[in-house]
């Protein structure tokens, strides 16, 4: 049983006109097996929350705490956070030229497991993870995210989620740019990871359609750098009907 606890998190980014506060005090607790959806309009700070927790250097933490099972994540480097059990599926996964998917996955698995996975079982693991996401085996020989379609990038992210077995996963707009079939395949991967590893999920999205496949236990409405309303799945239905207008200050 793991718990990601975010308390009073404040985050700024540097701009030409000095630092600008994006997150203005976020409180959120995610436990193993739970799915929390964070929904909100563009520019509300949802992605900043995701990247700040993962430790992207662009974001300055100006207040608050983030702990995983009581251990301070904000004190850790990016790789240490991942090794502590955190995973971020990115909205825009980065191309790494010249590095094959298979080499990348094996390097990551070695880092996370503390030893190189046994080659024989590893090859099988990767094959079945790819097959589960309807990915062609030739995918493993391509360079990481290079020339991938939007859908391929997202499948690759979720394949990593299944292979690397984190405790808590943050999915940053994993649904964006996916057609109906790809959305279903990717969502099924998340549901499998939850079932297999008792994963806690923080699902960041703009739209409700992914929630038909990945049922949230809690829905949080995000606006202007903070959570402005919280509820159960019924809150998503309300947002579907009414949009974000009432949360956005004119």
């Amino acid at each position: 049983m793991s718990t990601l606890e975010i308390r009073g998190l404040k985050v700024s980014v540097d701009t030409e006109n000095g630092p600008v506060e994006i997150l203005k005090g976020v409180d959120l607790t995610i436990k193993s097996g739970e799915t929390h959806a964070i929904m909100g309009p563009n520019g509300s700070g949802k992605s900043t929350l995701a990247y700040s927790i993962a430790g992207h250097p662009k974001y300055q933490i100006t207040g608050g705490t983030v702990t995983l099972d009581g251990v301070d994540l904000l004190d850790m480097t990016v790789d240490e956070r991942a090794r502590a059990g955190l995973f971020l599926a990115m909205q825009y996964p980065v191309e790494v030229p010249g590095v094959s998917v298979s080499n990348f996955l094996r390097t990551a698995a070695t880092a996370l497991r503390g030893e190189a996975p046994k080659l024989r079982t590893w090859v099988g693991e990767v094959k079945s993870a790819m097959a589960a996401l309807s990915m062609d085996p030739s995918f493993a020989e391509r360079n990481v995210n290079e020339g991938f379609s939007g859908g391929e990038k997202k499948r690759h992210e979720i394949m990593q989620l299944e292979l690397l077995k984190p405790k808590i996963a943050i999915l940053d707009e994993t649904d964006s740019g996916l057609d109906v079939d790809a959305l279903r395949i990717v969502s099924e991967g998340v549901v499998r990871a939850k079932a297999d590893n008792d994963l806690g999920v923080l699902l960041i999205t703009h739209y409700t359609r992914i929630l038909r496949y990945i049922k949230p236990d809690f829905v949080h409405v995000f606006a202007d750098g903070r959570i402005v309303e919280e509820g159960g799945p019924e809150l998503a239905e309300k947002l579907e009907a009414n949009g974000y207008a009432e949360y956005v200050s004119k």
Binding site: G55, V78, D79, M90, V94, V96, V99, F104, A108
Partner: protein, 364 residues
């Protein structure tokens, strides 16, 4: 003192071709103040396969196939009493590469080495030249690609840290021939190489690929010249370099000349440099001169940058420690070209060397 009576002007460092080169560190190759060695260190590794001859021939029997305005190449042609000639017979198809290497050399006297590689019509082969150890070497390799031939030349500069190497690899590429050059420079104190191409017949295609990695104090210069003299030839240049450490200095010059007669030319050149620390300097000068508008394409690109933070973040967010992430990115950067060598033993050795260079630099 050398007794050469060259007509070539001794460079002062103000000439365009010499403005980046640290002349004082060239061991006298540029001004003739070296002691001439009598050795000829280029040797065939193993025995010559069928259709291949490897000989040393008196200079009077081997005429130069090209001219030069490079003073060091000029000195080689004056001084070398014999020429190392590698010939691949017409129509030969060699499945295994032909390997050459350099025997023990030295830094006290200078070897002026003249070489000719000739591949016959419609033959196909790969030649690998492995340079290691300590050498003071001036080298001119003329590469003659007869019609319809397909030749790959891999030149590996894995020199020890004090080597000085100035050379030209001049390809004369005839009708419908394909020539690929892969130059790797990861060792030496000063290395200055001129990969040059002269198109002799239509329908020929040339690829000049290279990687270099300079660490503290090393100077590596790669100065290409691709001369499109005839119509309908294609050239591609892709050089990638990394630099780390105080006064690591690399120079890439890409001169491409499309003459008035060279209609239908298709050329593109690219140089990318990865600066891994402060105190290093990468000069990158693409230069395209075009005398006809009737071409398929002509372009160039040059970039010099640091580690991409987003790449490192992506890898680290998967638990990979920063040093391992850097190593992956650097290996990946070079892999595009190293993988073209097509010999896994050499590729692994070079990647290990690149890892060592990166560690040595203690990349900041």
């Amino acid at each position: 003192m050398s007794t050469l009576t060259t007509n070539y002007l001794t460079p002062t460092g103000r000439e365009e071709a010499w403005r980046f080169t640290p002349l004082k560190r060239l061991g006298g190759l540029h001004d003739g103040t070296f002691k001439l060695a009598t050795r000829n260190s280029l040797a065939l590794t193993g025995s010559a396969p069928a259709g291949v001859t490897f000989e040393r021939i008196g200079r009077e029997l081997v005429s130069a196939e090209s001219s030069t305005d490079d003073v060091i190449v000029g000195r080689i042609h004056e001084a070398a009493t014999e020429v190392t000639v590698l010939k691949i017979a017409a129509n030969a198809e060699l499945s295994d590469p032909i390997s050459l290497h350099r025997l023990a050399g030295g830094l006290t006297d200078a070897e002026l080495s003249r070489v000719q590689l000739r591949i016959g019509a419609n033959a196909k082969a790969t030649v690998i030249i492995e340079n290691s150890g300590d050498h003071l070497l001036a080298e001119d390799i003329e590469i003659i690609c007869e019609p319809g031939s397909n030749l790959t030349v891999v030149s590996l500069q894995e020199w020890d840290s004090k080597s000085i190497h100035a050379g030209r690899q001049h390809a004369i590429v005839d009708r419908d021939a394909t020539f690929k050059s892969i130059i790797v420079t990861v060792g030496g104190d000063v290395v200055r190489l001129l990969p040059t191409v002269e198109f002799k017949g239509q329908g020929a295609s040339v690829e000049l690929l290279g990687v270099y990695f300079a660490t503290a104090g090393q100077f590596f210069e790669h100065r290409m010249f691709v001369d499109h003299l005839v119509p309908n030839a294609k050239s591609r240049v892709n050089y990638k370099g990394a630099l780390a450490g105080q006064d690591a200095h690399t120079v890439w010059i890409g001169d491409v000349f499309i003459r008035a007669a060279a209609e239908g030319t298709d050329t593109y050149e690219l140089n990318r440099n990865l600066l891994l620390s402060d105190g290093a300097r990468a000069d990158s000068v693409p230069n395209l001169e075009i005398e006809t508008g009737e071409i398929v394409g002509a372009g160039h690109a040059s970039t010099t940058g640091r580690f991409d933070d987003e790449q490192l973040f992506y890898l680290m967010s998967r638990g990979i420690a920063v040093e391992d992430a850097r190593r992956l990115v650097v290996r990946g950067f070079f892999n595009e070209i190293i993988s073209e060598i097509g010999n896994s033993e050499i590729q692994d050795r070079l990647m290990t060397r690149i890892d060592q260079e990166l560690e040595k630099a203690g990349a900041q």
